[in-house]
Symmetry: C4
Subunit: 222 residues, 4 copies
């Protein structure tokens, strides 16, 4: 949730929280961190809005437009964020390690394939001049990704928006997809913070070691 | 209908009106209200052309390119327009309230999904470099939207253009879609002014209250 | 055929002509007539190349990128061209009349729907970043257009390019489409110059009058 | 493989080589040769990185973004490269002859149709705002191209990327496609260097003569 939205629609945030949804942080005004000069200022404003309304900081962050910057890792670690979900470097969770401080953030990876814009967006202001798929066509894509993840034991994290996937015709198709997943069995439906808990426990217990991607300081001067 | 078109093709306007079609206003030269400096001048020219030929002002407005500006609400209310059909904020009609004057415009919402450009447009001058769908593929989308609207009792408002949806192959598919809707039953086929009448009556009789979206003056200085 | 191509590949032009194909003119270097300053110069060069190799001027013209300019009608009439095939104003042939001189050009209309770029093009240099359809998907579109034209007695004029529609997989699908058209019956397969002959004869015999679109001089100062 | 990647990920290069894959050269930083000023410098850096790690120069080159420049032919010949695989001028291998030196490079042609970006890419930074196809839709295209190539005895060269075609759902579909090809029979699965060997042998034995495309010096001043 962008900080601005938390400020303007507090009742909707409460409604979401009351129904068991996790509230993650998603920038302040959906700014692209890697294209603005004062990215830390805007991260701070987002964190402030979040804390002011929810009483504590967010456990998870998704960069608006997936624009994770070269400063993001350290800034998120400093803010106490435990996981990021903006990068596309694997099919299962992995770790982002800051070479200088040796601290790590958990990465819960996403992919454009499981985002709803490629299937449903058409918006001249955003430069989206493209065909709109029927719900059953989009579900072909989402289901094929699920089948692949199911067969090989990977994670499947969708990025869906109320104005697109929330339309009546499309949400009917979402419900059918969830039924398909349930029927297939052996699937854990979880919030990202629950996945984060689970992975942290596995690591703490020494039962699993994530692949580590180390971000060097030299990345900043690239 | 853009005002310029009314001026240049009055016989076609009369033909449409004679066959029971509603004539709404759609700008003067299909200008984007939110990108031009003198938007009220062009709104005025559109209104003048409309009144000069049709004898009275339009009941409904659709912003060219759906570009409803921060001045549109007040300007349309001042012009006596009763409904707008350019925004995408709901699945059923709702009200746009001007916070200062407490006056409201009815919104009959549309969506790019029910527009024919995403399915059929290809035009380099407009930046539309994209695949053209077969009529049956476009109808998959339109029909799924209809089925969703039908199941939950929502409105379904298409935005179709003669040069695209009016092609022989496509209009055959439109006729089949209309048959499908008829066969399903429980559907009211209506012009937008008739929907406006219906909703106004429900409100006046106290039988239904629309969701209200209030536009603040502060929106102007955002 | 662009004039430059005629100059550089005369043997290929002869091969086409020998196999009964019509050679129309398509600019000199595929320039967009409506975006260049010296459009008449380039039209002249195209005509010169054409005449130098083929012995007489072209009967038909298709504007590169369909960019028929405000000067095109008069210039083509002056050059003795009999038909244009660049505009999208109808489902059957019609006439373009020059208001000043009262001369007319026959228009054999095309449409992006029957062009192969929307279905097969992907080329970063031309700004075509879009999906490539399978041949059977493109044929769904072409066949639906054919079925529409067949039912209502319209023309069906494809704009296909060797580098796209000429690929092995796609041309196999073209052959199947031609079989489909043949089997349906009642179809005249003709070159554009033959259609031009046919329409000219119908008009001369008084058996048919085309719809006339008049281009005013005022169009130039628009 | 871009030279930079060879430098940064030598272990991965070794892994690929150990498993029987060919390592071709693909620029240094995926630069577009035809848009940069110092293209020969970057070609040199790519060659240096390649030789430093692999002990000898590459046999094959694929221009990043397929941007084969007017200097590429001579520069690749000077570097001892034996084949290029960046151009789209035929369905089977052909020769690129340098008119001045009468030396030739073998061209193993590709096409956007067999590239995975048109089917799977969606990336705002690269300007790819387009739908993502389901694996089975992409395979329709790849399989139709294969069927065409199979029927007429042509080559079929895919350009697939780990981050796109390597996703679990998609690679499952790739495996099915390979099974389909195997079952059809009469197919040679080969690396590009093996195809190069084969064609060179056919030419040396006088059993086959490739079509020759001659690049003139005048091409440079075009």
């Amino acid at each position: 949730m962008p900080g601005w939205v938390i400020e303007k629609y507090p009742a909707q945030i409460d409604l979401l929280a009351r129904h068991g949804h996790e509230i993650g942080l998603h920038g302040y005004l959906h700014e692209r961190s890697n294209e603005i000069r004062d990215e830390l200022y805007w991260l701070g404003r987002g964190l402030d809005s979040y804390k002011a309304h929810l009483g504590k900081g967010p456990r998870g962050w998704r960069a608006p437009s997936f624009a994770f910057s070269k400063h993001s890792l350290r800034a998120l670690l400093d803010a106490g964020v435990e996981y990021d979900s903006s990068l596309m470097g694997d099919d299962i969770p992995y770790a982002l390690r800051d070479a200088d401080s040796n601290r790590s953030l958990l990465e819960l990876p996403i992919d454009w394939t499981l985002h709803d814009f490629p299937h449903y967006a058409h918006n001249r202001d955003l430069g989206y001049r493209m065909p709109i798929s029927a719900p059953q066509r989009a579900m072909e894509v989402f289901r094929s990704e699920f089948d692949g993840a199911w067969e090989f034991g990977a994670s499947w994290i969708s990025v869906w928006h109320p104005a697109l996937s929330g339309r009546l015709a499309r949400f009917k198709a979402v419900l059918e997809l969830v039924d398909y997943m349930r029927d297939k069995g052996g699937v854990w439906f979880a919030r990202l913070d629950q996945i984060c808990d689970h992975v942290q426990r596995l690591i703490a217990d020494g039962r699993w070691t994530p692949r580590v991607e180390t971000l060097l300081r030299s990345a900043e001067s690239r």
